[in-house]
């Protein structure tokens, strides 16, 4: 008994009481969902083709990878490695769209935030583009680029760019003028002002923009892969559903959420901690 107590005290010291509490409370709905899911496989309220047993979903990982010769083959994109190919295809598109879309969105956002003339040109079309749901472009993109890589990339790029553009522009406008004047009166150039004032000063908005881009971007990407793609998790879900392989659909949906959560946890949260939290720009309940 004392051993268990010591263990629990050690865990509380390591992670902090509040964090453990939050984690436990947040886990409860998931645990309930898993229990219900498992009950269904015992009592068969829904047929396995409608809701497959947990073991089948787990098994689908190995089934989809059964022709894969090994880890290196999976990295190289061997034809047999279906699951890892779909995952890397989706993740690859997200990374590519981010690498291109984020600097462009932030760059134009800063210019428009700084300059009334540029924002007069770009703001109305930004509002227009943001009001059109990203997936509404899919049919048109298929006409332009055909089914495949370019269509999915275009859809995601289009979603990311306008969100980041808008958020960055708003963030730059909210930067106190006196910070800019301070750098100017110390002899700072326009580039100094952009890099040392506007960019860090709009970081709160930029991170919001990144978070929205990731959310909306992933959704748009999955939809684009379903309709206009030839690979990726969205494509896999769509094809599997047509063949009534529901366990593969479940696996795809779960993987999408896990990847999305992972990018938030390991990319955006650290970025947030490293920048705006350290600078005291986040409101925190005390």
């Amino acid at each position: 008994m004392t051993a268990i107590n010591e263990f629990s005290v050690a865990i509380q010291r390591r992670f902090g009481r509040q964090k453990i509490r939050k984690f436990v409370l947040g886990s409860i709905p998931f645990i309930l969902l898993i229990v219900l899911w498992h009950m269904n496989s015992i009592f068969l309220v829904f047929e396995p083709v409608e809701i497959p047993p947990i073991a089948d979903v787990w098994g689908a990982i190995f089934w989809l990878q059964s022709d894969c010769p090994g880890v290196f083959a999976a990295i190289e994109g061997h034809n047999g490695c279906q699951l890892t190919n779909h995952v890397s295809s989706s993740v690859g598109r997200v990374i590519l769209a981010m690498v291109v879309g984020v600097p462009l969105g932030i760059g134009f956002g800063i210019l428009a935030g700084m300059n009334r003339v540029i924002s007069a040109y770009l703001e109305p079309i930004g509002v227009f583009m943001n009001s059109v749901s990203g997936i509404a472009w899919i049919p048109l993109a298929i006409v332009w680029f055909g089914v495949g890589w370019e269509t999915t990339l275009f859809i995601m790029l289009n979603t990311i760019f306008w969100l980041l553009f808008f958020n960055t522009m708003m963030g730059v406008r909210a930067v106190p003028k006196v910070l800019v004047q301070g750098v100017q009166t110390m002899g700072g150039s326009k580039l100094d002002v952009i890099l040392q004032v506007y960019l860090p000063g709009s970081m709160t908005s930029i991170i919001t923009g990144l978070r929205m881009s990731m959310g909306f971007g992933w959704r748009a990407l999955i939809a684009a892969e379903m309709i206009g793609g030839d690979s990726g998790l969205g494509f896999m879900i769509f094809v599997s559903a047509q063949e009534f392989k529901t366990e593969e659909v479940f696996l795809g949906v779960i993987l999408i959420s896990i990847i999305f959560l992972a990018t938030d946890r390991w990319l955006l949260v650290p970025l947030e901690k490293w920048t705006i939290e350290r600078w005291g720009l986040v409101w925190k309940p005390t």
């Binding site: 006196v178 004047q181 301070g182 009166t185 110390m186 002899g187 700072g188 100094d192 600078w279």
Partner: protein, 265 residues
């Protein structure tokens, strides 16, 4: 005559369009002023008299067309490192540590790191921020933030320091401490300073010369010399110094008359 004048202003007037009505506002009228090397000049006047407009013109943040303004013989055209500004609000960057905020001016001028660090440490010690070098502004009190702002401007070593009500936003107790400290720093480093304030006491306490602005359009109404050596300017002594109290009362009545005029019009 203008041999050691650091700042020369001749016949400076300023009009600007009102933000809402678009009507032309007459902010400044024929300002003539010289500030000499190592002189501490304060400007005091009723609110809305154009004193901040004047400082912004000298800082190069506001373009002017009527009259001339020169620093070290060079016409003012836009902001530059020869004029360091301490603003009323906190203008230090939240994303830079105390160290990097104070060294910012030197960094922008590409002063080598070793020399920069040496100078920064000097000013950190001077304004009493030792031990806070790696802190971010949000971890500091209001008074400490203004100390960083003052040290940042001092460290950049401008020809003239422009201070725009720098202590207006801190509490009364801190303000007195900061004023005493500023005196000490000015003694230690010999600076040329133009200091804007709406506080009559502050103007008389800090200035070698105090310039009283009229209400809008801002004109130089009078200039009062306050002939008290810097070493004697400590709050605990000043309250009993007749030179200080006389100057303060004189400035106060001048500013008062401007405010009363304003009420009657």
């Amino acid at each position: 005559m203008t041999g050691d004048a650091k700042l020369i202003v001749q016949g400076l007037s300023h009009h600007y369009p009102d933000e809402y009505t678009g009507e032309s506002v007459h902010a400044l009228q024929d300002i003539n002023l010289q500030i000499h090397d190592n002189e501490f000049v304060t400007i005091v006047g009723p609110s809305g008299c154009g004193k901040t407009t004047f400082l912004n013109i000298i800082a190069g943040l506001l373009p002017y067309r009527e009259g001339r303004a020169m620093v070290d013989g060079v016409e003012i055209k836009g902001p530059g490192p020869d004029r360091g500004v301490v603003f009323q609000e906190h203008a230090i960057l939240p994303w830079r540590t105390v160290n990097r905020n104070i060294g910012h001016g030197l960094e922008l001028r590409k002063v080598p790191k070793a020399e920069r660090e040496k100078r920064v440490q000097e000013y950190i010690d001077l304004v009493g921020l030792s031990g806070f070098e790696e802190r971010y502004p949000h971890e500091l009190s209001g008074g400490m933030k203004q100390r960083v702002a003052v040290a940042r401007t001092l460290c950049a070593d401008p020809v003239i320091m422009l201070m725009d009500e720098p202590f207006a936003a801190v509490d009364a107790q801190t303000r007195i401490t900061l004023q005493d400290e500023l005196n000490r720093v000015v003694m230690a480093t010999r600076r040329t300073i133009l200091f804007i304030t709406h506080s009559v006491e502050e103007a008389a306490f800090l200035g070698d010369r105090c310039i009283v602005f009229s209400r809008r359009p801002g004109q130089i109404k009078t200039e009062i010399k306050i002939d008290i050596p810097r070493e004697e300017r400590l709050w605990k002594d000043m309250v009993n110094n007749p030179k200080f109290t006389d100057a303060r009362d004189e400035i106060l009545s001048l500013v008062r008359s401007e405010v009363t005029n304003d009420d009657n019009s």
